[in-house]
Amino acid sequence: MEDWRKDQEVLVMEGRIKVPYRWFAGEVGTRYLESLRDKGVFLGTRCPGCEKVYHIPRRHCPECFEECSQWVELGSSGTLESYTIVRRQHPQLSPLPVPYGYGIIRLEGADTGFLHLLGEFDDKELKVGDSVEAVFSDKREGNILDVKFFRPVKGVE
């Protein structure tokens, strides 16, 4: 194609957009995260229309469009619905050094899955449908990483 680069430099303007944000968790998100931080208890919300229990808790059922006003305590273990093992590090974004896993976990008592990290697993043995349990962080600060990761439940097949 063009050989203009033989005679000219390729000039670029380097830039980095770094905008500070403060995202509010809102009433529902705050109640959920406080329970996780202070008691180590996962909470979901139940839709009065379809009775589905949402975890992560939702304020409104997207289907029935009802307010999910009822809170439900959930188990801290659940089922692995899908997963991946990340092999390529992203310098800023990877939450752990590679290789690490993450998956979709449906907690006991919930009708929907949520995303979290996987740890202490053997990648040759891990499979969809495995029982996994939460391992909490030593220092809990009121965000989703108060759960360090999920690991396979030992002795359960």
């Binding site: 991946t84 390529r88 992203h90 499979k127 989703i144």
Partner: protein
């Protein structure tokens, strides 16, 4: 019902890994000039413009304003749309809606991207929820990998089944001078390529590309006045379901590990257009398959075959050039992915196929073509294009 609408002009840049010789709006201009020339139009003939890309890939907001020098939109009605991977098909659908409304006769639709100008993964992460997804999730590849794992578990499909899709797409691209990658890959090449995020390997994934594409959409009142035969848009549909990363892998209602947004948008448009057997009725399909496993699961979600049947059909060559319904004669997304342009390129290629202008990648005698867009957040746009002018607008 609205006006019947046709594609009456196509413009597309060659898709390349980087275009350091042009700025974004200059890249846009290449596609726009080509589309206008194809349609026998000048800038003055454009009634309105719909444009789109993903802001964070170039770090420039309000592209509608910033690009008027190149887009032809100076002092004209213009609307910018950004919907992730579906951006290009959303633009095409919005241009279609503009014309179908009867308010505009000739609308220019432009999709573009310069992925070379940023960190694609870093930009993509801004599409995800800051509380529940971003602390865990690391970009598009690993999100797709969750889908691949669920699909393999549900059907027993293998990584090698997916490699057949990756090889087919790259082989098809060898016929397409517009494609970014021209790779003569083998199954072994794909299988031996490094894992990015198990089970997805380098050979399974799309590249990052710079490119632009522009289409002219015209109403039935003027569609026959253009130098090229119109490619009629018979129907469009879209469905979205994503709030969080965990949402799209399961159908909430049935608990099935399928792709409900694609199934439902396809069924919606098929019902209106009269498609009962996609594999029999479509002559060609240009599908947004961002990675190899999509070429299995989406064929099933689009109704080309039953659940778990796509691997056998793929291995048998059903979707190859010369097969029953060639998929992605262009080489598809796995050969070129300028994200905001990618889904409108599917529509452009479908139009070229209908008009008999696809050159070395032409499928013989195309009467009915399917084009899709896939969003990074698992949503789905569907467009059906036809050679014959429909009896009435079907939406």
């Amino acid at each position: 019902m609205g006006k019947r609408v046709a594609v009456t002009g196509v413009g597309m840049t060659r898709q390349r890994s980087a275009r350091p010789d042009v700025t974004g709006q200059e890249l846009i201009n290449e596609a726009v000039r080509m589309a206008l020339a194809d349609a026998g139009m000048t800038r003055k003939d454009i009634d309105a413009v719909v444009i789109g890309n993903m802001d964070h890939f170039e770090g420039v907001n309000y592209v509608d304003t910033w690009s008027v020098d190149g887009s032809g939109a100076l002092m004209k009605p213009i609307m910018k749309l950004t919907t992730g991977g579906t951006t290009g098909s959303t633009i095409a659908m919005a241009a279609y809606y503009h014309v179908a409304s009867g308010l505009f006769d000739r609308v220019l639709a432009i999709g573009w991207e310069k992925n070379s100008e940023s960190d694609t993964t870093g930009a993509i992460i801004t599409a995800f929820d800051p509380f529940w997804d971003r602390p865990i999730f690391a970009g598009a590849v690993a999100g797709l990998a969750l889908e691949a794992t669920a699909y393999m578990h549900a059907t027993g499909a293998t990584e090698e089944d997916a490699a057949y899709v990756a090889v087919r797409e790259r082989k098809h691209a060898l016929n397409n001078p517009y494609a970014h990658l021209h790779l003569n890959m083998t199954i072994e090449d794909v299988m031996n390529s490094p894992y990015l995020s198990w089970p997805v390997k380098m050979g399974d994934m799309c590249p990052r590309t710079d490119g632009a594409c522009a289409l002219v959409f015209a109403s039935e009142d003027v569609a026959d006045d253009f130098p090229i035969k119109p490619a009629w848009v018979l129907g469009v549909a879209d469905r979205h379901l994503w709030a969080y990363t965990s949402d799209p892998y399961l159908d909430f209602k049935t608990g099935e590990a399928w792709f409900p947004a694609m199934q439902k948008s396809a069924r919606d448009v098929y019902d209106r257009v009269g498609i009962t057997d996609p594999l029999e009725q479509f002559d060609v399909a240009e599908l947004y398959l961002p990675y190899s496993f999509a070429g299995l699961r989406y064929m099933e979600s689009l109704g080309f075959c039953g659940k778990g049947e796509a691997p056998a059909l793929t291995r048998a060559g059903t979707f190859d050039m010369g097969g029953k319904c060639p998929v992605n004669p262009s080489g598809g997304v796995m050969s070129s992915n300028a994200i905001g342009a990618t889904a409108i390129i599917r529509v452009a290629e479908a139009a070229w196929q209908i008009q008999g202008r696809a050159e070395d990648r032409q499928v013989p005698d195309v009467k009915l073509a399917l084009a899709t867009g896939f969003g990074g957040c698992f949503w789905s746009d569907i467009l059906v294009l036809g050679k014959e002018k429909p009896e009435k607008a079907r939406g």
